[in-house]
Symmetry: C2
Subunit: 255 residues, 2 copies
């Protein structure tokens, strides 16, 4: 790999990724992440950024996308091995909280740290380990520049939620509830890779309408909004021209 | 790697693994699964079997073991890459159900398929994907030969359980509740690797005593019982002498 700045975009579902792949003109690279791994990779460039977008692929038994934290871990690991990225972006759809000002179609950028709301381990040290609190890049300047909402993201393996889940999301001070970010953030943290997440809202957690109904109704529109913001974020990182490396904008620890 | 039959044993906690490492005289191999991965590998032989025991290691921020499904996925993946095993054994401790005849200290061997009880995704195809139902080796003959209880194992990322978790364990027809097996089974299934699990019971899910209290009280004794049964299982696979490959005892699909 040359000195080109490399951005890996990790996504769970093909439906979420399709607008971005089209907008950026990314091309499938069939040689990478070979069988039997289900992940699918698309590559291309945005100005001086080399982009590798990894979609988690399909579970061949049930014909559905490999959503959730287990495929997310594997996808993050193999993408880091393959591309040694300068930045990891987890892009996808998510639930939000109407009572916290969230609206369907909003696109949030990660703030604070990445937490789990479904790993309850009430033993000393394990409680905090379960929640995770993996580091996220500071996105405040970018959020202001691009008009993005910032939000704390919490992760769990269910699309629905129990009362206990809601309590734990309160502990996490979550603005956004989704199914992959903290798992990716764990692997990113192990490898010292900076990470941000962009999440487009398909459903309101505090709505009386079931999340799966909202999700199905809003997936396509939210994915379009997500695409627009992912492209803006990529251009933000290159706005000073091709000579400017992404590394110049990252904290010194990664320089 | 030679034609030696290779068994990978995946374990979450050092406390669970210590008796087995001691009993089998396994030696730490510091060159493998290098930094920054937290996993720790011990190697050795049992008759004609080459054994690689992988412990998930410690989270350096909180000083606790990397329990749960996210490290389990990564451990399974890197162990398969490193060792290309003929068999994967997930050994550990777990909860059981008194009303299903389980007692503290029992060691169960996996039966049926490996399921998740905390991945609730109520959309067509995704419900079944969430539960997983990854294949487990048929262990009936071995269970009878070694006097092991057979049980269906369900996996989730919490040590405690909600009413919803209990309902889902019912859907899974679970005898044993633990935190890694189904995640490992997903990776094993991707790579066509036969897998069994051995789980020693530290706590009864349907006891009025909190699981974390039972767990702490019974971890050491359960880990000793687990060690005894892991050793018996390894000897079972070699009981006809060093000339008999493990493959001879596995289904034809793996031969």
């Amino acid at each position: 790999m040359s000195a080109t700045t490399t951005v890996v975009i990790l996504m769970a579902m093909a439906e979420e990724a399709a607008p971005i792949i089209g907008e950026l003109g990314l091309v499938r690279n069939g040689r990478l992440l070979a069988t039997p791994l289900p992940m699918v990779v698309y590559e291309g460039c945005v100005d001086d950024l080399f982009i590798a977008l990894v979609v988690n692929g399909v579970d061949e038994r049930f014909g559905v996308a490999n959503v959730g934290t287990q495929p997310a871990v594997l996808s993050a690991y193999v993408a880091i091995q393959q591309y040694n990225p300068d930045l990891i972006i987890n892009a996808g759809t998510a639930g939000g909280f109407g009572q916290r000002g969230c609206q369907i179609g909003d696109v949030y950028i990660s703030a604070g740290s990445f937490k789990f709301h479904d790993r309850r381990i009430p033993l000393p040290g394990y409680t905090e380990y379960g929640i995770g609190s993996y580091p996220a890049e500071n996105t405040t300047a970018m959020a202001q520049a691009l008009g993005l909402k910032q939000g704390a993201i919490s992760t769990g393996n269910s699309l629905d939620k129990t009362h206990t889940d809601l309590d734990m999301m309160g502990v996490c001070d979550a603005d956004v509830k989704e199914m992959e970010a903290a798992a990716i953030a764990w692997v990113a943290w192990l490898y010292g890779k900076p990470m941000i997440a962009l999440k487009a809202i398909t459903d309101l957690v505090d709505s009386p309408v079931r999340p799966e109904e909202q999700f199905v109704d809003n997936l396509a529109a939210a994915s379009e909004n997500l695409c627009q913001k992912v492209v803006e974020v990529l251009h933000y990182y290159t706005e000073d021209g091709p000579a400017l490396s992404l590394r110049h904008k990252l904290p010194a620890i990664y320089a």
